[in-house]
Symmetry: C2
Subunit: 416 residues, 2 copies
Amino acid sequence: MSKIASNLQIDSARLWDTIHETAKFGATPKGGVRRLTLGPEDKQVRDWFREACETAGLEVHVDALGSMFGLRRGRDMTKPPVGLGSHLDTQPTGGKYDGVLGTLAALEVVRTLNDAGIETETPLCICNWTNEEGSRFAPATMASAAYAGEYTTDNILARKDATGVTVGEALDGIGYRGSEAVGARKFGAFVELHIEQGPLLEAEHKTIGVVDRGQGIIWYDGKITGFESHAGTTPMPLRRDALAALSEIVLAVERIAKAHGPNAVGTVGEAVIAAPSRNVIPGEIAFTTDIRSPNSETLEAIDRELREAMAGIAARRRVEIGFEAIWRKPPTIFNPKLVDAVENSTKALGYSHRRITSGAGHDACNLATVVPAAMIFVPCKDGVSHNELEDATQADCTAGANVLMHTVLALAGVAS
Amino acid sequence: MSKIASNLQIDSARLWDTIHETAKFGATPKGGVRRLTLGPEDKQVRDWFREACETAGLEVHVDALGSMFGLRRGRDMTKPPVGLGSHLDTQPTGGKYDGVLGTLAALEVVRTLNDAGIETETPLCICNWTNEEGSRFAPATMASAAYAGEYTTDNILARKDATGVTVGEALDGIGYRGSEAVGARKFGAFVELHIEQGPLLEAEHKTIGVVDRGQGIIWYDGKITGFESHAGTTPMPLRRDALAALSEIVLAVERIAKAHGPNAVGTVGEAVIAAPSRNVIPGEIAFTTDIRSPNSETLEAIDRELREAMAGIAARRRVEIGFEAIWRKPPTIFNPKLVDAVENSTKALGYSHRRITSGAGHDACNLATVVPAAMIFVPCKDGVSHNELEDATQADCTAGANVLMHTVLALAGVAS
């Protein structure tokens, strides 16, 4: 890190104002943001972002899935740019920081470099990835996944929301189906700043999370078929109660994930009783399960133990249990050199920090499969995210943006 | 029982034909019946029933809640009639026998007595009680409960269905708001034939259940408030998972009911996660619980143990659990003399039988609080009811109708 660079700090007030300025696009009465991908509020924030990029002297390009790239020229334009950014869409009742911080901090980095008259050796490219959240269209992080070759562009364009509108139609509707082929824009490295969305940094009073891994994830769809019968007339020993079977499954998921702790997690997030009634024994339940671990072997062990537990429950309770893995994402191992670069910048800036695993999926996890990538976390209040109560401090957001800037400068190099 | 009477049998084929004739009103493709109370199909079966009663020489009266009474004169019209019957409404996906058997068997008893030229000492009154099922309007067995003084007529008339239609409006809509005051028609005794809706008679190969008790019931509305958080980023030990808490509650309800067996039952029939998502730890769940026992002390013990279990779960899992009893029905003790009368008729007719507790609520349970009452059960296939698969044999239905007839003759007396 050059002498000039290490004294350089982003403009904290400008970053903070920018975050709160964009929070008006889809603002909710409770102080959160509802900005579903490719909807009218997303168009508003995209138009704002394009104008801000152009004002900062960036060339804006849009790819065929609507991901936006603001290019800042470097001294050596033959080299691929260092990418930085995140996403501007939110959950239906989302907060002001998830995705937004990483995208606007990238903009702030450019603004700061512009103000300081710093030219980088390689170009920089600030990014707004389409549909990170996955609330309107499945899957989540679809544009970066397509960028990384996990899906074809056509596959993603044909995905439909709950009302039957396709991604392609939604892109055309807001004028953001770009001409650039998905994946055509190459990066030399990619760095994403994000709120932690978990409680660890706050609990340990650390400012910066140096993210070295992303959890591997398996998602399951489950279905229990017992027998619906009268709650008053069916003796306890004759019951085939689907909800009692689900209860054992939920506790088994919890027990098995705990046994593989501290980093493994397991959750039953959805459970719907078919035709529920207060005086009918539940006969059929659909449920989902989400298991995660930063370690592939652990993930497979949890999968195996869960299936054993379910076989036992099914036999003992005389119910059928269907349990199908619908998505498997291997653990992400972030590029060690980039992780070191993040840690070095953090140390140089004097922030408290720890290595951390990302429990959530992020665009950077997809990009890590095709380009050296890293992530920087800052604390969020009570670990709460995907919630209008999501909160982060100005000081922590500023620290994260400073680490982002110095990491990017270290990767891109300062033109002498 | 007089010599003439003991040889008398109902017309099995006529009863069977009548049951299947009325099953066309609201017939479902799967062979069940959908005849929600006070809807168009209920009007059809009521019109049919009225005409059948009048053809059989009965005077038909309708009370202010639509309950229908077909009066057959006795020799001594100063004595109150013996009531017999059940209900003609069904569950949304109900069967052909629940309620229907008891009502049409009552009609068959009258037809048989007419054919045999038998006059009873006291009058008889065959009944079709409004809204036994409670599917369209709550509560279940509302008309017989109002008859027994548990609710005022106005209270029931104001109850609304899911679309906002009141009971009063629905009665007017099908022309069945009668002029007779609810509860004004007095009975000397009341006998209801019904399918068991449980598996015991079938399992023990008994034809007749001599019902001596009805379960006491407590219904609860419950709510668990934990904390909604990200399934990927929240470590297992920090979770306040409402679904995991519910799972322990479901298993506690099951364990406690079993411990008070064999007659006690406990069921969580409904459980709804607020804003469910596969990658969000459930933060809030509404649920219901139904506990039953034929013994008041047992019911209170279960209530107490459930509350203790929930307090432990709430403390251990750092969640709030609300658990409110919204309905308490004490156990029904059917009139011993009437129960003996049912048993004596059964023995005289030579049917296998056992004493049995009714697990379900019935109109006769309400009537038992104001008039000597009894019930007769016959087996249903696999104990299944409230289901289009509900089934019963012609032989068992016939046996039940014969027991009903001879019990009623014993209570009403045969005019000599």
